[in-house]
């Protein structure tokens, strides 16, 4: 099986008790305990005020992690191709549309409708950053993180240019929450570069296989990992936070998994 290599230049991370990459490193390396305080999502200053008012959680979340990763990589966001990924997109918005369609008055709000497309965060991001580079938006249910990492790594290698990966999940309200119980908002972003530059923090080697996924010894982090699809990337984040070489396995589809070698 062929291997795929890519450099990680910058990381963005937001989630419960995980407030940006610097603070998250302290949690992931065990210096400070994880508290399940929801992450504060900053207002999207990069959008015009009219657009800013219309955006929901996935857009605020993806903007926050995307800008953090680009900043940490010293990369110009307008020059980065992007891979957006989420298992459910804007779950609040979806629930609201479903309620409207089940009511006597099916007049869906136009804003809610155009925000309902899975690539809405990608659209707002391209407007906010004036980025005309290719962008895709993916879903692979629980396997979405591994799918997006593969897509972003192949995109970067194929184009020879860095690519920004964004993986983010939000929670459905009831009644869909009962069928898809994602308890917290969490997002991970990485600038992936096919070229080794001074910005490189680690070289990843990706390989498909059937090894069992790496679990996390910390029960609170493990609970996030198993309950939020985007958090399947946390073992990789932990290794990068520790700044040590090693390897992790991230679950992909059924028996298929993604082995990741990390060389710092």
């Amino acid at each position: 099986m062929n291997a795929l290599q890519i450099h990680v230049d910058g990381i963005g991370l937001l989630g419960p008790g995980l407030f940006g990459w610097t603070q998250s490193c302290d949690v992931l390396t065990g210096k400070v305990p994880l508290t399940l305080t929801p992450a504060q999502l900053p207002p999207v200053k990069a959008l015009p005020p009219a657009e800013r008012r219309r955006v929901g959680v996935p857009i605020k979340l993806s903007m926050a992690i995307g800008f953090e990763a680009a900043r940490n990589a010293n990369a110009d966001p307008s020059q980065l191709s992007t891979v957006f990924s989420s298992t459910g997109g804007d779950c609040d918005n979806c629930h609201n549309i479903l309620e409207t369609l089940a009511s006597d008055d099916r007049a869906v709000s136009p804003t809610r409708f155009h925000n309902s497309v899975h690539n809405a965060p990608s659209g707002y991001w391209s407007i906010a950053t004036a980025c005309m580079e290719p962008s895709t938006s993916l879903c692979a249910y629980d396997a979405t993180f591994a799918a997006a990492l593969l897509e972003a790594a192949t995109q970067a290698n194929h184009s020879g240019k860095p690519c920004l990966l964004l993986a983010y999940d939000t929670a459905y309200p009831e009644p869909l929450y009962a069928l898809r119980p994602i308890p917290h908002v969490l997002g991970i972003a990485m600038v992936l570069n096919p070229v080794n530059t001074p910005a490189s923090r680690a070289l990843l080697t990706l390989k498909l296989g059937t090894s069992a996924a790496t679990t996390m010894p910390e029960t609170d982090l493990e609970a996030l990992r198993t309950r939020i699809p985007a958090a399947r990337g946390l073992p990789l984040m932990q290794l990068l936070a520790k700044e040590t070489s090693g390897s992790v396995v991230i679950e992909y589809l059924d028996a298929l998994s993604l082995a990741i070698g990390v060389q710092v």
Binding site: M1, N2, L4, E51, G88, G89, I97, L98, E99, L101, A102, R106, A107, V108, S109, P110, F113, H114, N115, S116, V117, H118, N119, A120, S122, G123, Y124, S126, I127, T129, A130, C131, M132, E133, P134, S135, T136, S137, L138, C139, A140, Y141, T144, A147, L150, E151, T154, H158, E174, P175, L176, A178, L179, R180, L208, Y252, L253, D254, A255, L256
Partner: protein, 397 residues
């Protein structure tokens, strides 16, 4: 390695189930759009419906996936010996080496739309038999197809609104170039649902009549549904007559969520990138299958982008007057229409359009023209400013 061989393909839409009726509809310029009642919809509009899905039965072992979108997927997979072609590729490369990358915009959301009408009045709970994961979730259709063939390779759904079904060609190409797979089932499946019918209506983008792309009187889209599948592999051993995807270009408008860049700049960038990858000049393209949704803004912006690159000579048309706008499937449907045009040496004329808008300059075809066909370009643009152009080519020895 950049060129993808179209080993096998099939399309099911309002104009027909499989390639033969699709080609016949293109040849006779027959539309599948009709004014009809569907589900509980109370809008004054026409639709491009695939008949028979209400009574279609999904394979017994895949019952959990039962919903309109996956029924349409299975109906599509069962045409044109496509499944046999997949089995042959599995024999050659192995189950681990065949990827599944499919486009959809709304997946099986109709199931949740119906379930929300049947919530428990006391608890608000959804009916116990509602299966969110295997129907509504965006990944459902790729999951369904992967299980249909018991594949073990990489898979995901691309959901970039109306460019989804074209962008999957890029995913397969990159995965193959990286050596992770040797073949892939790509395409798009999107089916009628209330979200898109009422949603596009709320944006005043739905016509009350069958859509009229590039017409002076055009007043919006007609929503359709389709399943389009293409089995791709490396074109190393392509022979004369084979159809290949020789170029793909992707870009973002960075302009507006639901209207295109007025000068068609994003579209232009995608078309230029596709030609560049294919190593072709604009004059090499024999036919352009336009995105051509029949909204005022799309057709005006696309016309600007097309004429900026191609001038006003290259024959072009939109086939959304035949099929309706099949949204997340449209890119794959129209790539297959280009493949049929290349195989049969004709450029299909649009249907529904009566008087071409005099403000639009491109060479829009109102009837078919028989001509030698070597290269065709297909445009797909979506909400969020997501653009994708494909170049399809016929291999000549």
């Amino acid at each position: 390695m950049q060129v993808l061989l179209l080993n096998s393909f099939t399309v099911t839409s309002a104009i027909g189930v499989g390639l033969e009726p699709t080609l016949a509809a293109l040849r006779t310029q027959r539309s599948g759009i009709a004014r009809k009642h569907w589900e509980t919809v109370d809008l004054n509009t026409c639709i491009g419906e695939v008949e028979g899905l209400d009574d279609f039965v999904v394979r017994e072992d895949l019952k959990a996936f039962d919903c309109r979108n996956n029924r349409l997927a299975q109906l599509g997979l069962e045409q044109d010996d496509f499944s046999q072609a997949v089995q042959n590729v599995i024999k050659r490369f192995g189950k681990e080496r065949v990827g599944v990358f499919l486009g959809t915009s709304t997946s099986g959301i109709l199931s949740s739309e119906i379930a929300y009408r049947h919530r428990d009045p006391a608890t608000g709970k959804l009916p116990a038999d509602h299966d969110y994961r295997h129907t509504h979730n965006s990944y459902s259709v790729a999951d369904f197809v992967r299980h249909y063939f018991d594949l073990r390779g990489p898979a995901y759904v691309v959901s970039t609104a109306c460019s989804s079904g074209a962008k999957v060609f890029g995913s397969a190409q990159r995965m193959m170039a990286s050596g992770l797979i040797d073949a892939a089932i790509i395409g798009g499946v999107d089916s009628l649902c209330l979200t898109t019918l009422y949603g596009f209506n709320s944006l005043q983008l739905v016509s009350a009549d069958p859509c009229r792309p590039f017409d002076a009187q055009r007043d919006g889209i007609t929503i359709g549904e389709a399943a389009a599948f293409i089995l791709v592999e490396r074109a190393t051993n392509a022979v004369s007559g084979d159809i290949v995807m020789s170029g793909i270009g992707e870009s973002s408008d960075a302009h507006h969520m639901s209207s295109p860049h007025p000068e068609g700049l994003g579209a232009l960038a995608a078309m230029q990138a596709a030609l560049q990858m294919a190593g072709l000049q604009p004059a090499d393209i024999d036919y352009i299958n336009l995105h051509g949704t029949a909204t005022q803004s799309n057709d005006a912006a696309e016309d600007k982008g097309v004429t900026a690159l191609f001038g006003a000579q290259t024959p072009c048309s939109s086939t959304k007057g035949h099929t309706g706008h099949t949204l997340g499937a449209a890119g794959a449907v129209e790539a297959i229409i280009c493949a049929l045009a290349l195989r049969n040496d004709f450029a299909p004329g649009g249907v529904g359009t009566q008087t071409i808008d005099p403000r639009l300059a491109c060479h829009y075809l109102l009837s078919n023209i028989d001509q030698p066909m070597r290269h065709a370009l297909s445009n797909s643009f979506g909400f969020g400013g997501s653009n994708c152009s494909l170049v399809l080519s016929r291999v000549v020895a």
